[in-house]
């Protein structure tokens, strides 16, 4: 006897979102589609959904962050979750207690979803092995920042209508950037041509093996690009070790109108924030017609709603 026909429901087949690595194109597309809906929803007066009603979401940030944490907080609240923020960076937990101890303590409070940021690569995955709830990686060291890559991809897709076949130049501190890694994997998986552009001191060894074109000059790196994605340069790297000075960096790698002119006329300018104006990006460009930096922020909330909703389907009693 055949089962009655039921509508095809795209389910996200993972309990955690630890990185883009390991996701298949349909996984990514389903999250982007879901986020598209959430975006429209977020523009209504009534922004409250019930997918996470009764659920507890803990934002566990071992590294300070304003925008990512508030984005996740808002996303959780719009889905009806009880959201608690724990800024471990400032708490007594930081010293003495290990990450795993902290994880097990929190787990005993029976949260449904943990959103975790940590300064060490792999820390979020380690934590995910020690808890029984769903875990979302909100950034682990220089490893991955999957929701940032998803929101970047959706920003691109909404403006360009596609990702496949586009040329994306990711510029700046590739070596220390989790945003770069997640984007390289995601955009490559969806068929974009990805370039990285940076001084060699900010390029990690073996980056060419990740399927990207490597450039050390903005003119060639940006030539005919559809997307110019700038990365933040951490202050401690500006003064002599990786880069001699801010003015030298801005001169050769800061995005201004002249450098942007090498890209396609309709190229989009993106930045994960927070921006260092006058370091990696000129204010005129950051606020210019080609900039979609503010869109990224709005889309960020929608993407995080989509991810939370997708994982909620795997929660017990869902």
């Amino acid at each position: 006897m055949n089962a009655p026909e039921s509508p095809v429901v795209l389910t996200f087949p993972h309990r955690h979102l630890l990185g883009i690595e390991g996701l298949l194109p349909p996984d990514i597309v389903s999250l982007l589609d879901r986020a598209d809906e959430a975006l429209e929803f977020g523009r209504q007066v009534e922004k409250k959904k019930t997918a996470l009603r009764g659920r507890t979401q803990i934002n566990l940030f071992f590294e300070a962050s304003t925008r990512t944490q508030s984005s996740f907080e808002l996303a959780g609240k719009r889905l009806g979750a009880d959201v608690m923020n724990m800024a471990v960076a400032n708490s007594a937990l930081k010293k003495g207690e290990t990450l795993v101890d902290t994880a097990m303590t929190l787990n005993a409070m029976r949260p449904d979803i943990l959103v975790v940021r940590h300064a060490s690569a792999g820390a979020v995955e380690l934590l995910s092995h020690k808890v029984s709830c769903s875990v979302i990686n909100a950034g682990d060291g220089a490893h991955e920042h999957p929701t940032q890559a998803l929101l970047d991809a959706l920003t691109i897709r909404r403006r360009k209508g596609r990702i496949d076949g586009l040329t994306v130049a990711i510029c700046g501190d590739i070596a220390h950037s989790r945003v770069a890694r997640s984007n390289i994997i995601l955009l490559g998986t969806l068929g974009a041509r990805v370039r990285v552009v940076a001084p060699s001191t900010l390029l990690p060894a073996g980056i060419d093996r990740l399927g990207v074109e490597v450039h050390t000059d903005m003119a060639t790196g940006l030539r005919d690009a559809d997307i110019v994605m700038m990365l933040r340069l951490q202050r401690e790297r500006m003064t002599g070790n990786s880069v001699p000075s801010v003015r030298e960096y801005f001169h050769f790698f800061g995005l201004d109108a002249a450098k942007l002119a090498h890209a396609k006329p309709d190229a989009l300018v993106m930045h994960p924030g927070p921006m260092n104006r006058g370091v990696e990006i000129d204010s005129d460009v950051a606020d210019g017609a080609q900039s979609v930096i503010r869109d990224q922020v709005e889309i960020g909330v929608a993407v995080r709603m989509a991810v939370l909703e997708a994982l909620a389907a795997h929660l017990p009693n869902a």
């Binding site: 690595e21 290990t98 990450l99 795993v100 940590h118 060490s120 690569a121 792999g122 820390a123 995955e125 380690l126 682990d140 060291g141 220089a142 490893h143 991955e144 989790r178 890694r181 990690p204 060894a205 073996g206 980056i207 093996r209 990740l210």
Partner: protein, 430 residues
């Protein structure tokens, strides 16, 4: 006097390179006789007769690089637990590292190690002493007195002597006493905040990498200083093709330079780190597969003199962290031989060559009479079934720490019996 007769054995004598069937008699604490070929040697009355049924009888392993938690970190390893682990793994001599708390930089402490180990450990334990007082990298220790007290070598353990002038003086002064300097050098500035080998794998994992040049530049410097001073220099753990080239050149020049390789760098590569497995966080870090292949070639052609376990017990407090925050090190006494036998089973080296690097050569570097099957030599022996399969179960490890990189690994080759000075210290059959 007690006696054991091992009959029907496959004798492997790494000192002479000879391998064949035969029997071996242990009389008291020495080898009473070695009988190659068929037929039987007579056993004295009351001797225990062991029918080896074709299993290998070879000298026990001599391990030049072992960290024991005693004194100062007994919760990680004691002489008793390290001794049990060594005996189970077929290791009959271990050389302990001086980076304990307190540091082994004084004759009273060398004496303490020797006495504690004699009372507690089932195998022979010889302390090394630090090159500099308190491992501070400034003032030399009393090489002459320490040697008289029983220190078999001088090393900074995990630390690097960055000061070239100090290294020169240490090599020069130690030479007068025949002292062996064992050094694991990693340039701290070049290594930076690296936690694994620099390259594609580190980049994918988002972990800070360190270039292998941080090992190479110090080794090159040390070899030049060995040439300048004529001192006895032993590179404690080389890991890459370029380091082996440096050692080859030094040997061709006739310098008194030797090198060791950890079993980890002969068995594993950086890809084995997988999802941030901290038990594979080592110093020096695991390298590429190309480097591992070069290491195997270096073992086969004799460039690598000795294989060490680099046994370094760590507990959850130091290992259960994100990769970049975890401590370096892996235990290895119990798995060293089984992991090394993979090279034999793969046809990379033959058993006498392997056993030479694990017994005859390290014994010779220490000036010991072990590491050979010869009448009159100390009866430090193993009986080994080189084909017996087993799986490395962490809970079964005798070591007090369980940080093995071989968790769940399938091995072929198990030690059936370990004999130290004629006394059976581990017997699988019992």
């Amino acid at each position: 006097m007690s006696a054991i007769l091992f009959t029907n054995a496959r004798l492997v004598d790494p000192a002479s390179g000879r391998e064949g069937s035969g029997s071996l008699l242990v009389t008291g604490d020495v080898i009473g006789g070695v009988h190659w070929g068929g037929g039987e040697t007579g056993a004295p009355g009351g001797a225990e007769v062991v029918d080896c049924a074709g299993a290998v009888v070879a000298p026990g392993l001599v391990d030049l690089r072992v960290f024991v938690g005693e004194p100062g970190a007994e919760h990680r390893e004691t002489f008793a637990s390290a001794g049990r682990a060594a005996a189970a793994g077929g290791v009959t001599t271990i050389v302990t590292m001086p980076d304990t708390d307190p540091v082994i930089d004084d004759i009273a402490l060398v004496d303490f190690i020797a006495r504690r180990a004699r009372d507690e450990a089932a195998v022979r334990v010889y302390p090394s002493a630090s090159v500099t007082k308190g491992l501070q990298g400034r003032e030399m220790t009393e090489f002459g007195l320490l040697r008289e007290a029983g220190a078999v070598a001088f090393t900074e353990g995990r630390r690097t002597i960055t000061h070239a002038g100090l290294m020169r003086n240490a090599l020069t002064y130690a030479r007068d006493f025949g002292g062996l300097i064992m050094h694991l050098g990693i340039d701290p500035d070049l290594h930076g905040d690296g936690v694994m080998n620099e390259g594609e794998v580190a980049t994918r994992l988002g972990l800070p990498g360190a270039p292998k040049e941080s090992e190479i530049v110090i080794l090159e410097r040390d070899v030049r200083l060995a040439a300048l001073t004529g001192g006895r220099y032993h590179a404690a753990s080389v890991t890459c093709a370029q380091s082996l080239d440096i050692i080859r050149r030094a040997k061709n020049e006739g310098l008194d330079v030797t090198c060791g390789a950890s079993i980890n760098h002969l068995s594993l590569n950086e890809n084995d780190i997988g999802p941030y497995r901290t038990f594979l966080r080592l110093s020096p870090p695991l390298r590429s597969e190309d480097d591992r292949q070069a290491m195997i070639a270096g073992l086969a052609d004799g460039t690598i003199d000795v294989i060490v376990s680099d046994h370094d017990p760590q507990d959850v407090e130091t290992k259960r962290h994100p990769f970049a925050e975890a401590a370096d090190g892996a235990v290895g006494l119990e798995t060293m031989l089984a992991a090394a036998l993979r090279l034999v089973h793969n046809g990379d080296v033959d058993l006498p060559t392997l056993m030479r690097a694990m017994s005859a050569r390290p014994a010779a570097l220490l000036g010991h009479d072990t590491g050979k099957l010869a009448a009159g030599a100390p009866a430090d022996l193993i009986v080994l079934d080189p084909d017996e399969p087993w799986i490395c179960d962490t809970d079964m490890l005798r070591s007090r720490s369980k940080n093995t990189p071989f968790e769940g690994a399938r091995f072929q080759g198990a030690v059936q019996r370990t004999v130290v000075a004629g006394r059976t210290v581990s017997n699988y059959a019992l």
